[in-house]
Symmetry: C2
Subunit: 323 residues, 2 copies
């Protein structure tokens, strides 16, 4: 089995590679993992890993990926929400049209020889495909009405993947990830960054600013859950999706207050005292348009599992990043 991971050097990509290298799948079936990203700062000596420095907006590179006839392709690469909002054309080009070019290149391979090529394609979509107003819990049949360009691009890419799958050219699925929390590394400027910042920074002895009311509710899963979703999708029989290839994944719904309560219970009051409330009306307004809670029945039935509560998410962060 040959696997390609597009966006292998991102936060989730790196964790996926690590997890895969220690998996039974790797030990028993995988002959090659090709890591594709714009840039690699560190390469692994593992013999079955190959690296491609490339841009998914480059059609030549896309055709090269298709010609390799990987059995499985993880597509994790994207222009993130802030940049897609600022650079409208770039967002659509990379997040939608490069997906079209990849799928078309795979379809051309499909017809090239008598042994039909049908790769499995696992795409990381996002809860950004949803836009307010919401019901109390978003169920598996709720409409996608994105209120960001990033969300609209993810939703359109999902439609492509669904149609190419229905036609039998690929076995595709789109995983709508919750907000990944606690993100490791430095604080970033994403509007959603504070959900991680208010946990990660205090645990490092640093101050963190909370820009929204404590009553704000949101939908989270750990980086460890994200990689387990991807590994579970890799092993899953896609025919179980029954032509609906986009899945709302499980997560933890909690308020900022509950996040802080969990931090207090895990790390104590002194750590919590490093969180400073400093309201940012723009962020507060944006956040109110984001999904708060889901009833992700189908994904749960298919065996996707997230954390049970936010305390568990914090403990995972401590185990995976601080030890």
């Amino acid at each position: 089995m040959k696997i390609c991971i597009i966006g292998a050097n991102g936060m989730v990509g790196k964790k996926l590679v690590k997890k895969m290298l220690s998996s039974d799948l790797y030990k028993t079936k995988i002959k090659q993992i090709c890591l594709f990203d714009i840039n690699f700062n560190k390469k692994n000596d593992e013999t079955n890993l190959t690296y491609i420095n490339g841009n998914i907006a480059d059609i030549k590179q896309i055709k090269k990926i298709a010609s390799e006839r990987f059995d499985m392709i993880f597509h994790l690469a994207a222009i993130v929400s802030g940049e897609a909002e600022e650079n409208f054309e770039k967002g659509w080009n990379v997040n939608l049209f490069s997906m079209w070019h990849l799928l078309e290149a795979l379809r051309k391979e499909h017809f090239k020889s008598s042994k039909k090529y049908i790769p499995k394609l696992i795409f990381t979509s996002s809860i950004a495909v949803f836009g307010a107003p919401f019901p109390e819990k978003i169920n598996d049949e709720f409409l996608s009405s994105p209120q960001t360009s990033y969300g609209a691009q993810k939703a359109s890419a999902e439609l492509l993947i669904s149609d190419f799958s229905r036609k039998g050219y690929i076995n595709g699925m789109s995983l709508r990830l919750p907000t990944i929390c606690v993100r490791p590394g430095l604080p970033n400027k994403a509007a959603s960054g504070f959900f991680s910042n208010i946990i990660r920074e205090p645990l490092n002895g640093q101050k963190a600013y909370l820009p929204v009311d404590k009553s704000v509710r949101h939908w989270h899963a750990s980086p460890r859950a994200a990689t387990s979703f991807l590994m579970h999708a890799a092993l899953m029989d896609t025919s179980l999706l029954e032509n609906r290839t986009s899945l709302n994944l499980p997560g933890v719904s909690c308020t900022v207050e509950e996040q802080i309560e969990a931090l207090r219970s895990v790390a104590g009051q002194k750590v919590v005292d490093l969180i400073i409330f400093k309201k940012d009306e723009n962020i507060q307004k944006m956040v109110l348009g984001w999904p708060k809670d889901f009833f992700s029945k189908k994904a749960s039935e298919l065996g996707f599992i997230a954390e049970k509560n936010f305390e568990e998410i914090i403990k995972i962060h401590i185990e995976d990043e601080l030890k």
Copy 2:
């Protein structure tokens, strides 16, 4: 006011032009209507009409449309479902990518001068954006999960229109039309054609074949309702859509049996006797995946009105086509 109708020579396009020429809007505000289609078999002498023979897949033609800075653009052109299913690449190119090129050309115009250009764009989408399984009635928040390439292309084009509208580049809306019944003209080979054939042909003294069980339920509106939807959208304030620019339009939900009953009541038993039951398992199977009924609350609140029952649909066909 300058208006452009893309796909002006199609069945709905021709009726829209006719209706518009007799409207108050035309008498009081419209300076020019540009009719765009691949081919015109008959041109009208009306002075304010201009004609363009062109292909919407041709980027040069698209840029020409944008450069004309129409105040309102109706986009009715499409590769229809049967052809989009057969010719996969052509369907996506015309139904999705030509929409992208049109929107991008309009966006370039938007930024070209200090007086921002923001055209109104009215796009005919379809209930094909929905795929089984369905609830008893599809409401305004039901997910789009198309099971045809045509439906996936319409759904993706809707996402583009929504995002360009959210960014303020256009005032867009997508009208998800019911199946248009009774279609005038010759029987066509679309799988849904029989819904019209079993009414139109008997009224003309011709036999018609019914390929599905009489219990099959579907969602209909007359060609006259379709043009009234478009005229209503033309006059509507798009800000009332509140960032959800795709609308499920009202229609008549009825079974084939109810269609036949209505025909009997309007035209008598002898006409009904011309319907011959001849089951086609393929069509029966396909039809079971199509939407049956809607609760189109938002569109109704916004003033879109369809027929009340199928009898009315038949009477409209007789008035508009047979007199």
